[in-house]
């Protein structure tokens, strides 16, 4: 019953000096007081920041940031990828990644045009929409570790008493994009976990493909 909502909002911004031809992808996981009493009112919570950080590393190559640049050095798209949890019953990470991947897969950027006189960029209402091209679709699978046994998709009660967590992110071609482990485990445990992860990831990917709209 863990529920999250992901939304993507686009804005214009000036690219950084180091990367004048790049747009920005800014993931943010919000765990408000709504979803669980363990989060205090007033942002942000540590768990949320940690998750946002993980998402940021996960999505480093997700899309071609050069494509998001409109006027090099002056104007680029910044996409705020926000995931808000409305019910936290454990394993928010998997839900967040799935929601975000689904949202990214269905992002349509409106066309823009440059006004000659002022050099500003505005939205072009007649230009139609362009789909955001993703290099890969990340899917996350989390398991709880208890001694040397693993339990996939932990609920909150299970998370409270676990020894550690293994989170593995695959992409749609079964490459491993990220692997985090916070437990003391052996090689075999990881290998066994990866077998399960592959199966689970394909299930999640099929669900994601079902909700994707072609146009």
């Amino acid at each position: 019953s863990t529920r999250v909502i992901a939304g993507i909002k686009g804005k214009f911004a000036e690219p950084t000096i180091n990367n004048p031809n790049s747009g920005f992808l800014i993931p943010n996981v919000i765990l408000p007081m709504t979803c669980n009493t363990k989060y205090k009112p007033g942002f942000p919570s540590d768990k949320g920041i940690a998750m946002s950080n993980k998402l940021e590393t996960l999505l480093t190559d997700a899309t071609d940031l050069m494509e998001l640049c409109l006027i090099p050095g002056k104007v680029a798209w910044v996409l705020y990828l926000d995931v808000v949890c409305i019910n936290d019953d454990g394993n928010v990470m998997d839900a967040a990644v799935l929601a975000l991947s689904a949202a990214l897969n269905n992002t349509w950027l409106p066309a823009t045009k440059i006004i000659e006189e002022t050099g500003r960029v505005v939205l072009d209402p007649d230009g139609g929409k362009k789909r955001l091209e993703l290099n890969f679709i990340p899917i996350s699978v989390t398991l709880s570790v208890f001694d040397d046994k693993t339990l996939p998709d932990p609920t909150e009660d299970e998370e409270d008493i676990e020894d550690g967590t293994i989170t593995c992110c695959l992409d749609n071609e079964n490459n491993i994009r990220a692997l985090w482990s916070s437990a003391i485990i052996t090689d075999d445990v990881i290998s066994a976990a990866l077998v399960y992860v592959k199966k689970r990831a394909s299930v999640l990917l099929s669900v994601l493909k079902k909700v994707s709209k072609p146009s």
């Binding site: 529920r3 709504t34 979803c35 009493t37 007033g42 942002f43 942000p44 409305i86 909150e156």
Partner: protein, 256 residues
């Protein structure tokens, strides 16, 4: 459980209004958008309500009564704390994750309104946390937030004097009135929708009392009274539907 109210207007005190104008979404001037309401959808909360009115969607969660951790805040009456937030993608512009001034103000409004209805004497030294998150704002967010918060309180079995039902009304200088405005009608950029006044009214239907009233803009006194009466009548219309729904969910012992 779902409630859908699509009732058209009855007798209206505002005689100057052209009753035949149709709005962009095809409604009449005093027609409400269809309402969807579901309780108990946040399993972690003691009470919760998800409410949709047209395209305005929001969710309210109630945690409590719980112990106040700081000992010096002892009081014979319970305390209420409310947090209202627009999700970053809920409005036309991007909303920062941190609460801005407007959200803090609306939080305080909801807090004040709920303090009036909750029987705080029943739980001294305790705290009730209300959290309202707006998933999509297409107008009338404050009024819906008040309604959702009160339904969530009831779902949490916290004793309240009455249900709180909220409505928004928009009054224009040419005497046009729109009940339950969309975001475009409420603060639209087009000159057609600026000027005039806005009313947010929350009513306790069984007790026939006003729980919360806010008016912005400029309006004549006589027109103001008529506007408030129209809001009141609209709230009562909504209240019957919401009460039936709550009764259903209690009868069917809906899983929380």
């Amino acid at each position: 459980a779902v409630v859908s109210t699509q009732s058209t207007g009855e007798s209206a005190p505002l005689k100057s209004v052209d009753k035949n104008t149709t709005r962009t979404d095809g409604r009449k001037w005093n027609e409400l958008r269809p309402l969807f309401l579901k309780v108990g959808i946040i399993t972690k909360a003691q009470g919760s309500a998800y409410i949709e009115m047209g395209n305005t969607k929001l969710i309210a969660a109630v945690y409590g009564p719980k112990e106040i951790l700081r000992r010096e805040e002892f009081s014979l009456k319970g305390k209420v704390n409310c947090e209202f937030k627009f999700m970053p993608f809920s409005r036309a512009h991007y909303c920062e994750p941190r609460q801005n001034f407007e959200e803090k103000m609306i939080s305080k409004c909801i807090c004040d309104a709920m303090e009036g209805v909750i029987l705080l004497e029943k739980f001294p030294k305790a705290l009730v946390d209300i959290s309202v998150q707006v998933i999509q704002d297409d107008g009338s967010a404050l009024a819906l937030a008040l309604t959702a918060a009160s339904v969530a309180l009831i779902n949490a079995n916290i004793e309240v004097k009455d249900l709180v039902v909220g409505t928004t009304l928009r009054y224009f200088e040419n005497s046009d009135v729109l009940v339950d405005p969309t975001a475009e009608e409420e603060h639209g950029p087009f000159s057609k929708f600026t000027g005039g006044a806005g009313f947010h009214l929350a009513v306790l239907p069984s007790l026939s009392q006003i729980s919360y009233l806010k008016q912005t803009g400029k309006i004549e006194q006589s027109q103001a009274r008529d506007c408030i009466e129209t809001c009141w009548e609209t709230c009562l219309r909504l209240a019957t539907g919401i009460k039936n729904l709550l009764q259903e969910s209690i009868d069917s012992d809906a899983p929380r």
